[in-house]
Subunit: 367 residues, 2 copies
Amino acid sequence: MSETTADIPAATHDGPPTPARRGAAHDSAFLRACRHEPVPHTPVWFMRQAGRSLPEYHKVREGIPMLESCMRPELVKEITLQPVRRHQVDAAIFFSDIVVPLKAIGIDVEIQPKVGPVIADPIRTFEDLKRLRPLEPDDVPYVTEAIGLLVDELGGTPLIGFAGAPYTLASYLVEGGPSKNHENTKAMMYGQPELWAALVDRLADITSAFLKVQIEAGASAVQLFDSWVGSLAPDDYRRSVMPASAKVFDSVAHYGVPRIHFGVGTGELLGLMGQAGADIVGVDWRVPLNVAAERVGPGKGLQGNLDPAVLFAPTKVVETKAREVLHAAQALGTSGHIFNLGHGVLPNMDPDALSRLVAFVHEASAR
Amino acid sequence: MSETTADIPAATHDGPPTPARRGAAHDSAFLRACRHEPVPHTPVWFMRQAGRSLPEYHKVREGIPMLESCMRPELVKEITLQPVRRHQVDAAIFFSDIVVPLKAIGIDVEIQPKVGPVIADPIRTFEDLKRLRPLEPDDVPYVTEAIGLLVDELGGTPLIGFAGAPYTLASYLVEGGPSKNHENTKAMMYGQPELWAALVDRLADITSAFLKVQIEAGASAVQLFDSWVGSLAPDDYRRSVMPASAKVFDSVAHYGVPRIHFGVGTGELLGLMGQAGADIVGVDWRVPLNVAAERVGPGKGLQGNLDPAVLFAPTKVVETKAREVLHAAQALGTSGHIFNLGHGVLPNMDPDALSRLVAFVHEASAR
């Protein structure tokens, strides 16, 4: 995956962001690990590192609704940079929300505090699908602008682009909001397979376009989040979801940027999620890394997988458990490991505990 | 496991309930499957079959708080029998709640509608543990009475006893209520391992006593629900939870009644949950039965595992998916399969769909 960026020198100009700008991060520990090359230390970043857990985030977001904050480039830049400054993580993750592309094509969606995304008018019929029009780069100028600002500022630190996967987006659209059991979504998937296939295919196109914008603006890697896909049995995933996720990965393959895929509770799906086209498969804390490696198979990197709840324990325990993750990864005999939590940072997590963890991972894994 | 009941004739008297009363159900399809004996058809029951999904349940519960309803023997009998009458399932599950034994020893707990169990004063210290005094049969006379009434009425249909497992009870007690991430529970488990071990050990004793009461009153089998244990990695389960669960199973081993163990999201734990002492391991819908059988190993039965959300699809789809479960079980070459959903019945499920499913399983699996 390194051909595209390998020969491009680090950007030094101030012009509009281009893929060449990725060059500055080319030799970062994160991108080296993505390419399975030797690394000075195991790279570490945290899902949801930008946002809720940081007091400086709450300060800059004050009075600004979530989706509006995703549309203000200077604010997105600041929020994305906050955890990089504070924790010294090895990668930034673009601050956004999985429903941003839906909002951008005119879906009436808002993020309600303590609830999550709420869709005013759920998608339930073929007629409803017409509302899911293709996403054009002009629909999200604020994304291009924010990523340009970020890549300039980040220099050698890679920026990971971000999108929600078709199944998870479909679940929000069909249920009308967050759902525990995804009854309506699965009822459509099982009972109206043609409507379902058309829905996730449209969402695959929208997601692809959203990731392309981010990559063309300078993102060094992308992560496709399939938050709810762990609610599916492997056969259902293979039949009804994998084709759409594969379409997304395939659509950005020619850029040569690493493609990460993550969902929680996906132990039985890890192999299929890799086969869908991910270069790196995110693993939650329930699955030991050696088991995950067997299921994913050779040639793919792994990301994870410290139990987030460990961060509420004393520092010594955090270090013991983090060392267990590093040892499990080392035992695999590959440099293709990116340290992360097995799920996102929790809102009530102590930011200092996260900073200490980054320092510990760097030190304990120094080659 | 059949020695205890094999030689005891079916009860025909009207005296106080005794273990002998179990005899009537000895040759039921459910108990035969538990013993891996040939069955006339695959037995089927549903977790949460009694309760929320049935209009006749809402009618009899009207105005009666949840925990109070568990303490009225005639009401418990009626609620437990409702799904047996309506769906013709092969087993009844004792209507109770996992916090009933906690309430019975004086813990201030109530079940808040749409929230779940709320503990007024969470358990966080060694001093707090003193409040977890041993459970005596006299603390739950209504359980003994309700089971006596039920066994009389059920005749040849077995009654499954019911308790929450130590980890899940500990999570409610430590968090003070339902929790998404179990931060406080895990912080104690990781950071104060001696306090944690003492807590789950006390809960193991309480749970054991609660199950013994049910078995001695006439329950033909028991299911230990560990609702939240799927939030743990295998190493943590082995180290911090398995000893307490094993103590529970061991304490009732001498009765010779089948012991079922279930938790949701437990794909990586299935082998260990069997090793803890279960005769039958419940499998959620995420893990195909052949994969579950490999992880659990030979000699144990499997219970499950239709995705509950399938019940929201058209009947034809339900039957196709149910047949897939039956085929997967048949391919294992054992009669030790009990058909169930991969999680509990959902409140908004159509009861008629459940009745049709029972009839279908009986017909499609008839030998």
